[in-house]
């Protein structure tokens, strides 16, 4: 298991406003079925951490355990070092945003946002003040007297966010909050959420199955599969250095070329021999041994297409092939190329209007820097 806590390209500056959340060996089982299986995660104060994974990976259950709505069967969850397993959900002081907003239909926007403050017994003037500020933050000041039925999906979600942050929690938990919105609205809301988090500095734990969203928003992504965290790191780290094939495929398009390790010059550098005998150089994060099966991982946008081969270069891999299909995707061009050895390779090039375009059937050479690829053992 990869060490989930450290990464080399951290971008989150620690602040005093957020709290640290630590999960140690957290498990939830329904009978024999382990929905969450020994999860370890160290979320730092003020960090925006996403739990990313396919449905059924246990991410929502994990969030619900942090929130206190699901019981922990094994392990510990700590808030700033204190075990919160015994604290009921209404005493944990976390802001919670659901996918279906859960805006109280019988209260108007103002009363919805004021709800947590009234529950805490705040004086009236303070409530009015704080609610106004929260509504200003989500740009809904003019809707204070409206009811949820009169609001659009995006507006309702903003009310939910305002309500979740109005009492200045140190942690906000979000369960796929943008799942019900259409694409453009989702981008808009993502920017807003990120802005609010930067301004207020609280820790955010964000559940999503959308990898673009996770990469856009997070300081750190924890990828979950079958109840476990399979890798955690900054968006850049998990995208460029996946721990295994599953993660590589999950976070965008990937080429996964199977072969056998022919030679290992040092534990982290080696040569992969393909089925047709071709040799490719690559680096690896895990120690290499000659003779074992491995997969070469390279992103489609890191491969260059050229008409002819160039001189051999120890830092560059080359593979010749023929273009099968060319798809026009708006801002990118996607090529499917069949290598000489019969392997399908996907290449993406920016549609910049300058580079030559290769029609289907053309013979091409695929080129990439060795450092751009990775050997995956799993």
């Amino acid at each position: 298991m990869t060490d989930p806590t450290t990464s080399s390209t951290d971008t989150a500056p620690p602040t005093r406003k957020g709290s640290a959340i630590t999960l140690t060996g957290v498990t939830k089982a329904y009978g024999e079925d382990r929905v969450v299986d020994g999860v370890h995660l160290d979320i730092r104060p003020g960090e925006f951490c996403s739990l990313l994974g396919p449905s059924g990976s246990g991410k929502t259950t994990t969030l619900m355990m942090i929130a206190g709505f699901a019981q922990i069967d094994a392990g510990r969850i700590e808030l700033d070092g204190k075990d919160i397993a015994g604290t009921p959900p209404n005493k944990r002081g976390f802001g919670l945003v659901f996918q279906n907003y859960a805006i109280f239909p019988h209260l108007n926007v103002f009363e919805n946002v004021a709800f947590p403050l009234r529950a805490r017994g705040w004086p009236k003037t303070d409530i009015a003040d704080r609610v106004a500020r929260a509504l200003r933050l989500v740009r809904l000041e003019r809707f204070a007297t409206s009811f949820s039925r009169q609001l659009s999906g995006g507006q309702q979600q903003r009310v939910a966010i305002a309500r979740a942050i109005v009492f200045e929690p140190s942690v906000v938990l979000m369960d796929e909050p943008l799942g019900a919105l259409d694409k453009n609205l989702r981008y808009e809301m993502q920017t807003e959420i990120k802005e609010i988090q930067k301004q207020l500095g609280m820790t955010v734990v964000y559940v999503t199955h959308d990898q673009e969203e996770a990469m856009n928003l997070s300081d750190r992504i924890a990828i979950m599969n079958a109840g476990r965290i399979v890798q955690a790191g900054s968006p850049r780290d998990v995208y460029e250095k996946p721990a295994d094939r599953f993660i590589g495929r999950f976070l965008g398009e990937a080429n996964l070329i199977p072969g056998t390790v022919a030679m290992a010059s040092d534990p982290h550098q080696g040569v992969l021999k393909l089925a047709d005998g071709q040799m490719l150089h690559a680096a690896s994060l895990e120690p290499l041994r000659a003779g074992v099966a491995a997969t070469l991982f390279i992103r489609p946008e890191r491969i260059e297409l050229a008409a002819a081969e160039s001189a051999a270069d120890p830092d560059v891999n080359q593979l010749s092939g023929r273009v099968e299909t060319l798809s026009f995707l708006g801002n990118t061009l996607r090529y499917m190329v069949r290598s000489a050895g019969g392997l399908p390779v996907m290449i993406e090039c920016p549609n910049n209007g300058r580079d030559p375009i290769f029609a289907a059937g053309t013979a091409v050479t695929m080129r990439w820097r060795v450092a751009q690829s990775l050997l995956l053992m799993r």
């Binding site: 959900p89 209404n90 802001g95 919670l96 859960a102 109280f104 019988h106 947590p116 949820s148 309500r163």
Partner: protein
Amino acid sequence: MRPGPPRLLTAYVGTMSVLLLLPIVIVVILAFSGQSYLKFPPDSLSLRWFIAFFRDEQWRQSLYLSIAIATIASALSTLFGFLAAYAFVRSTFRGKAVLLSLLLMPMIVPTVITSIALYFFSTRFDLIGNIVWIGCCHAVIALPVVVLILLSTLQGIDHSFERAALSLGASRLRVFTHVVVPLAAPGLVSATLFAFLVSFDELLIAMFLTNVRDQTLAVRIWNSLHLEVEPTIAAVSAFLIAVTGLFLLADWLIRRRLRAAPWR
């Protein structure tokens, strides 16, 4: 445009609908009759039997007694039934089907058996004529209706509202009073009204558990029917029909108003 039902069927259903309402309509018309004997159609119309009903000390006492008992029954069964329905819908515990069947028992056991058992029990503990006790027994009879109505109501309320309220720091009590109750309001109104009706109309338990001096409206009608079929009974019956109609109307109106609220 879908072809409607065959004409023969419509004619039959129309006739049956009239037949279903006919007896009730006739009683109401008879209540306004001016004669002191039953004749249909009445030769003259007057309010004399209504006046007789409301002027008669005994009929009035029966009315007050029925209202008192029904109020107690309605309050107890709605409150307890609401809590029970909430437990069924929100809690996880095994044996729900068994417990629900238990709560529905008063509806299943023939009322005559329940009433004689209660009579037997009540004489031992000197509870005959005790209004609160009768209200309690009626509450038990009304409980199944209340629970069924409120189960349906609560199942329609999304669980995430309560979770949101909890996460926002509300105490469980506050979640209940400020979120669950307002959202369950239409069902609560129906349950209260129908529980009241169940108790107001109930005969057997009231018959056994009241003493000769204090009879509920239903019991007094029953006794009167055995002695003679006097027109006052028609007026009392018309009054009961009006009460039923009023309650159905109130239920429909209040539900409509709650549903049309800006937040629904």
